[in-house]
């Protein structure tokens, strides 16, 4: 049976992709940013996930004002890096996992999640930057990816409770898939940032660090945070953190935090990153 073995949270700041693509990620001056992913690159080579369910938000790239899905799941064969206004990133095409993705989608809809099924779309920095940060510069991404795009652009985003529940339902779906697969769930976005208005540049380090602390065991407290509180405390774009709750919901209640990294700033944003491993994936009573 397929199994979710670990979860990973990371910011997906476009500047990170730009640095990687320019060959600048190894520069001494960026070490405080990129050194936080050295452990991760080693860890992922050992873990060898077959499939990553990558939770991100589309930043007005494949979804424009015409159609805005709350939860869109990619069931396609592959996804091309998008031209976000300055040419597409020179990174490999993202290979989908259509059979598992359709299985999960059907299960989620039957579990009462109102998924939007996507068979063709381009993917923006929200999805490709985490791949670059974790896998580095590679000829091919070494695993299949199921993109899960969450609306955090148009108010309101899905609630934290809903996101936690979605993660939980994803776990149920994955565990019913007959093939032996090592599946990871990544939650991306955040941490605190605000990209507009006179208040632009807001960063709330105390909030971010408390979020990372609480995510391990007190995630229900985090799930109760309203979007208005996210905006007030961590900036208009701070609400991207609900996507980390989808990752958290897909794991056991008991997890080990095996890595953490936090750095301010990257461009306009606080960078956060952590890794959880499930302590016991067999215990079905153990769901968040």
């Amino acid at each position: 049976m397929a199994k979710i073995t670990s979860g990973l949270g990371t910011s997906h700041i476009p500047l990170l992709g730009y640095m990687v693509d320019k060959g600048e990620s190894h520069l001494e001056k960026w070490a405080p940013i990129f050194d936080g992913y050295t452990f991760t690159k080693k860890w992922i080579r050992e873990q060898k996930p077959d499939v990553v369910i990558l939770v991100y938000n589309d930043h007005a790239t494949s979804f424009d004002m015409k159609v805005i899905p709350t939860f869109a799941i990619g069931c396609g064969e592959e996804y091309h890096p998008a031209d976000e206004g300055y040419g597409a990133r020179p990174v490999p095409v993202v290979k989908g996992s259509p059979i598992l993705a359709w299985h999960i989608t059907a299960s989620l809809i039957k579990q009462g999640f109102d998924m939007t099924i996507v068979n063709e779309m381009d993917v923006d920095h929200g999805l490709t930057v985490p791949l670059s940060m974790v896998f580095g510069e590679v000829e091919e991404w070494p695993c299949q990816v199921i993109p899960l795009a969450v609306n955090t652009v148009v108010y309101p985003s899905p609630t934290g409770e809903r996101c936690l529940a979605l993660g939980n339902a994803i776990r149920t779906a994955v565990e019913q898939f007959p093939e032996d697969l090592n599946v990871q769930v990544w939650g991306t976005g955040g941490m605190s940032h605000q990209l507009l208005g006179e208040r632009a540049g807001l960063i709330n380090q105390a909030w971010d660090l408390a979020f990372m602390d609480d995510l391990k065991s007190d995630y229900k407290k985090l799930a109760a945070i309203s979007q208005v509180e996210y905006i007030r405390e961590s900036g208009t774009e701070g609400c991207e953190m609900v996507m980390w709750l989808i990752m958290r919901g897909a794991l056991n209640h008991q997890v080990n935090e095996i890595h953490r990294h936090y750095h301010v700033p990257v461009s306009n944003t606080a960078l956060g990153h952590l890794i959880y491993e499930n302590t016991d994936t067999m215990n079905l009573e153990d769901k968040p």
């Binding site: 930043h59 905006i231 208009t236």
Partner: protein, 140 residues
């Protein structure tokens, strides 16, 4: 800031991109979206006014695009993820575009970020004093 009777109306210097803003900004944002194609970026650059006139935008929206007045564009329904398509086609970084909305120069803004960003203290409520006086359970 078009946020009357909304729970986020009292957050200073902040416009939430809700249904109301999405409605008035629809064509402005769709124009921005068109700049994701290299051919359209070229045509826009050759004659911005002529390109803008092809879109069902208000005169105020068109003027604000020509002036690269991001605060005004936000007030007229622009969403920042759409608007950065304009600044990207200008070759500007997101930070540079964002800084124009604050009362800082780009250099001052970047320096503020380097020092840990803008503090939430005093920036949570339009009347910060009023907020700090509230009991914790009222603060949401």
């Amino acid at each position: 800031m078009n946020n009357n009777n909304k729970p986020y109306r009292n957050i200073p210097g902040t416009t939430v991109f809700d249904g109301e803003m999405a409605r008035i900004g629809f064509h402005l944002n769709q124009f921005c979206m068109s700049l994701m194609k290299e051919a359209n970026r070229k045509t826009f650059k050759q004659n911005e006014r002529a390109y803008l006139d092809k879109w069902r935008m208000t005169e105020a929206q068109k003027s604000a695009v020509l002036a690269r007045d991001f605060n005004q564009l936000i007030a007229l329904g622009g969403n920042i993820y759409y608007l950065v398509k304009i600044s990207s086609s200008d070759g500007l970084s997101v930070a540079a575009a964002v800084s124009t909305m604050t009362n800082l120069t780009t250099e001052e803004y970047i320096e503020m970020m380097r020092c840990g960003g803008r503090s939430p203290e005093g920036n949570r409520f339009i009347d910060a004093k009023q907020y700090e006086d509230k009991k914790p359970e009222e603060k949401q």
